[in-house]
Amino acid sequence: MIDKTVADVATAVAGIPDGATVMIGGFGRAGQPVELIDALIEQGAGDLTIVNNNAGNGDVGLAALLARKRVRKIICSFPRQVDSWVFDGLYRAGEIELELVPQGNLAERIRAAGAGIGAFFTPTGVGTQLAEGKEHRTIDGREYALEYPIRADFALIGALKADRWGNVVYRETARNFGPVMASAATTTIVQVDEIVPLGSIDPETVITPGIFVDRVVAVGERRWLDGGAFVGGVDLEGEPLQDAGTEGTR
């Protein structure tokens, strides 16, 4: 029997070594593998290269990983945010390397890694600083720059549900980088609200087939859902609204 489910997040992130390249899914709170990131902080791997759209917010999650000097380099499209003070400080101090990639090139480079494409010509960024030094070519009258795949040793993905074969379904815009990152990592680790029985996901609706997934861990239903239905009562970070009268635990 194939069973990719693991008991807890510590087991899910076991074996990530120092020096690994780790993709982390999510765009904002949507699709962010919150519990897996916390487990990675706990786990201890350092000298990491992180691939994410951003470079951490506030003092939690990815920012906390950065604050512990566990990240050597970050590949992302948008590090600077109002609350990205941890990254900002490290960057200004020269303690972290940044590879800035336009968001669509980032997604496409990750897809290329998953799909076995050696390199591709993209129009995005041509004529800008971010294409400087790259190979350029005019094709059919349009100018393109050559971009290479971004691969990872591990991917940490947040999704809605999965079965024991690792077939994954996302929810709304939480899908974002999940499917391409899952395809581009040697070991893909997915956290879901719930692991469902094999056969209960309609094969037409599988977004990430299990072939791309190595470990699946259930972390419980997110606060804004109840039995799979949206109930709200949270802010954008998923924290309870002040007036909602809920208990406020994470």
Partner: protein, 218 residues
């Protein structure tokens, strides 16, 4: 000289977007355009984090952290919406499938070059997000901006001094003073608001402008 409000400018842009268009409204001020799209007409909004058919902000208490726009604000999904992943979403843009994209700008050159991601200030932390993809990501790229900076410099320029976002990508610039088309011969004033004149706009921008104010609407 007359300047129109940001809301009026958003309404002005909205009036130029035909029914059935697929539109990306970028981040910040351009998102205001959504509020002025004509009632009862169907215009389909794209957000590059994976949604076509984006609807307005949710009711209080109904914020869904899984359903946000590219500015990481809570949104809703209309009947007829579709979700997709980031590579598909940016493929949609890069592949030229969007009709209109509305963006902010630091500078737009008379050749249609756009600078809107970095002021190039030393020590600034660079961040580009989807700006470069958006700049090349639609059949028509509209810029929404004040004509002048807070210090009175024209944002329409002969050549951008700030780092570029995209080359020759801007179709039209909607400013608080006037609407400018980017043409092969430079900026053409398509519409001057209130008491603005082509001569007055030439003075403000320091550029030679084409007078297209009496041109047929397309």
């Amino acid at each position: 000289m007359t300047t129109i409000s940001r809301k009026d400018l958003a309404a002005r842009i909205a009036a130029d977007i035909p029914e059935g268009s697929y539109v990306n409204l970028g981040i910040g001020a351009p998102t205001l355009v959504a509020n002025y799209l004509p009632e009862g007409q169907e215009i389909i909004l794209h957000t590059e984090n994976g949604l076509l058919g984006m609807g307005p902000a949710p009711e209080p208490g109904r914020v869904d952290p899984d359903l946000i726009n590219a500015g990481k604000q809570a949104v809703t999904a209309l009947a007829g919406a579709a979700y997709f992943h980031h590579a598909d979403s940016f493929g949609m843009m890069r592949g030229g499938h969007l009709d209109v994209c509305v963006l902010g700008a630091f500078q737009v050159s008379q050749h249609g070059d756009l600078a809107n991601w970095s002021t190039g200030a030393p020590g600034a932390i660079p961040a580009v997000g989807g700006a470069m993809d958006l700049a090349i990501g639609a059949k028509s790229v509209y810029v929404m901006t004040d004509l002048l900076t807070k210090t009175g410099d024209s944002k329409l320029v002969a050549a951008c001094s700030y780092p570029l976002t995209g080359v020759g990508c801007v179709t039209r610039v909607y400013t608080d003073h006037a609407v400018f088309d980017v043409t092969a011969d430079g900026f053409a004033v398509r519409e001057a608001f209130g008491d603005n004149t082509v001569a007055g706009l030439q003075e403000l921008t320091g550029l030679t402008l084409i007078d297209a104010t009496s041109a047929e609407e397309d």
